[in-house]
């Protein structure tokens, strides 16, 4: 009559164990995927790396698959140039928007503004690409080029350039930077703010002297994430940077990027060329991994700070 608590493993506990196993499987799906991705990308690309020689592949300055020459330095340089320029444009704008959202705008208006920014994140990148090609590229040629010519009369550009790509990329990474920085700034404890104001600092001094420094880890994390997005962006960049695999000398020069080169040449590539593109994928992959490691480091430090 009295059910003991020492029942032996019932159906229920078998079910529990089974469920836990299933959940664990789900939990490692992402890890397995990353492993598979790594294996397939490296597996397909390593032969090309060995063929051209690792160093040649990395620092060779001539990317000309038709002539069997695979030097990826121009591509890496292109990706970096576009990404860094985008960050130069995007970081101040992003932080300004974050400050505007969390400290200046009223809550209701801020919600509308935030919605608008999130919308930027939702627009398909192809749309950005065509917008860039039709609007930004001519604008750089017609408005920026004459300005540059004041200094350097020989300057020349078609508009397809690092600058055009960076402008579009900056817009594309804004949502990441704004929303994460805004979170970081709003989560600075109210006491800091009050303490600063109580000391007679005005709002501007409080923002630049207390809030932004206190939120710096979060802001940094948002920048790193934004950078990851910028490096990985493909379809938009493809259309607006000109895809010229030559080391750029100025912001108005066209460049080829790692992602753009893969996307554009993959479909036509012959066997060895295809391997080389997978090897370009390896470089991209390693850059992203390094960035990830940095991000992990930052978020760890963030944990310590708080």
């Amino acid at each position: 009559m009295k059910a003991s608590i020492s029942e032996k493993r019932g159906r229920r506990s078998i079910r529990e164990t089974a469920i836990e196993r299933i959940l664990f499987l789900a939990g490692i799906t992402a890890t397995i995927s990353v492993a598979l991705i790594t294996i397939f990308i490296f597996g397909s690309g390593i032969p090309a790396l060995l063929d051209s020689g690792f160093v040649n592949f990395l620092v060779g300055t001539n990317w000309s698959p038709a002539n069997g020459s695979y030097g990826t330095l121009p591509l890496t340089a292109g990706t970096m140039a576009v990404t860094l320029t985008a960050l130069v444009l995007g970081i101040p704008t992003g932080i300004a928007c974050a400050v505007f959202l969390s400290e200046i705008l009223h809550r209701k208006a801020a919600r509308v503004f935030k919605f608008a920014i999130e919308l930027l994140a939702g627009i398909p990148s192809v749309v950005y690409g065509f917008f860039g090609l039709i609007v930004v590229v001519p604008a750089v040629r017609t408005y920026i080029l004459p300005l540059v010519r004041l200094w350097d009369p020989d300057a020349h550009t078609t508009g397809l350039s690092i600058l055009s790509g960076a402008i579009i990329l900056a817009v594309m990474i804004l949502p990441t930077i704004v929303s994460l920085s805004e979170n970081a700034i709003s989560s600075v404890p109210a006491e800091y703010r009050e303490a600063s104001l109580a000391l007679g600092a005005n709002k501007r001094q409080t923002i630049t002297g207390v809030l932004i420094p206190a939120a710096r880890s979060g802001i940094l994390a948002s920048i790193i994430l934004g950078m990851g997005r910028a490096i990985g962006e493909t379809m938009a960049i493809l259309l607006i940077t000109g895809n010229v695999a030559v080391l750029p000398k100025s912001l108005l020069d066209p460049v080829a990027t790692l992602t753009g080169t893969i996307a554009m040449e993959m479909s036509y590539a012959s066997a060895s060329h295809q391997q080389a593109l997978f090897a370009v994928g390896i470089i991209l992959f390693i850059i992203i991994m390094l960035l990830n490691a940095v991000a992990q480091g930052v978020s760890k430090r963030m944990g310590v700070n708080q």
Binding site: S4, I5, S6, E7, K8, R9, G10, R12, S13
Partner: protein, 261 residues
């Protein structure tokens, strides 16, 4: 069954705790606890904050399993079975040893769904039986009249005291043998507290109750036995009258007379 409530007979032991040590990682929260908790009696655990009494009561139905860093040595026997033993089914244990928490924690469901949650999990599907169970449980905690018209409204809409009684009713619906109460009235106002205390008096006939309380008057009013905890050790356990009138340990006396804590 009836003979158990006969005070003349020596009641059976419900929990037999021997040499219980509990660690949060490296911090030792319980030291060599030895205690017998008797069936169909109310046992109160008193002591200053952080003395380990909540930790202890949560050990009795293995709620500490939720905290990964907890390590336990020693033995706790429930009806003669070691609850940390290999053959112990923690779910069956918790079914028999219910718990009421410091803050009322009704589920974000309706009053009705809160009560039938336990029975359903344990396999009761019959709608009429569930209805009966709801009515019976709510009557036991004197909540029926207050909520019978809003059984299908969210439980979070009840007042704090009502929520706590609902939680007790929810616990009763599973038909446990033991009810563990971890400061059940600390979040409630005096009127609601009084109602809960009355409720406990009515439940003592049929259940073994273990209650953690900060309030010594409460311990004095409702419990048969009282156990005094200090820094993770049980200083003494005795009949409540004896503890309050004539404690054998000077520390107990100091605490009871309000010298510290």
């Amino acid at each position: 069954m009836g003979n158990n409530s006969n005070a003349a007979m020596r009641p059976e032991t419900q929990f037999e705790i021997r040499d219980l040590d509990l660690f949060y990682d490296k911090f030792q929260a319980l030291h060599h606890v030895d205690m017998d908790i008797l069936k169909n009696r109310v046992t109160a655990l008193i002591g200053p904050s952080g003395c380990g009494k909540s930790t202890f009561i949560r050990t009795l139905n293995r709620m500490n399993d939720l905290i990964p860093i907890v390590k336990i040595t020693g033995s706790v026997k429930f009806d003669g079975t070691d609850i940390f033993g290999r053959d112990c089914d923690v779910i069956a244990l918790r079914k028999k040893v219910g718990m009421v928490f410091q803050k009322p924690n009704p589920f974000p469901k309706t009053v009705y769904e809160n009560i039938v949650y336990g029975p359903r999990i344990h396999g009761e599907k019959n709608k009429r039986k569930l209805d009966e169970l709801v009515e019976m449980s709510l009557k036991q905690v004197a909540l029926w009249d207050e909520v019978k018209d809003r059984l299908h409204k969210p439980a979070l809409g009840l007042s704090g005291g009502q929520q706590q009684r609902l939680c007790i009713a929810r616990c009763l619906a599973v038909e446990p043998e033991v009810i563990l109460m971890d400061e059940p009235t600390s979040a409630l106002d005096p009127v609601a507290t009084l109602k809960i205390e009355e409720l406990m008096s009515s439940l003592r006939e049929r259940y073994t109750i273990v209650i953690v309380t900060h309030n010594m008057q409460q311990a004095g009013r409702i419990s048969d036995f009282t156990s005094f905890f200090l820094n993770g050790e049980v200083i003494e356990t005795d009949h409540t009258d004896a503890i309050f009138s004539n404690p054998s340990n000077s520390k107990t006396e100091e605490y009871i007379t309000g010298r510290f804590g």
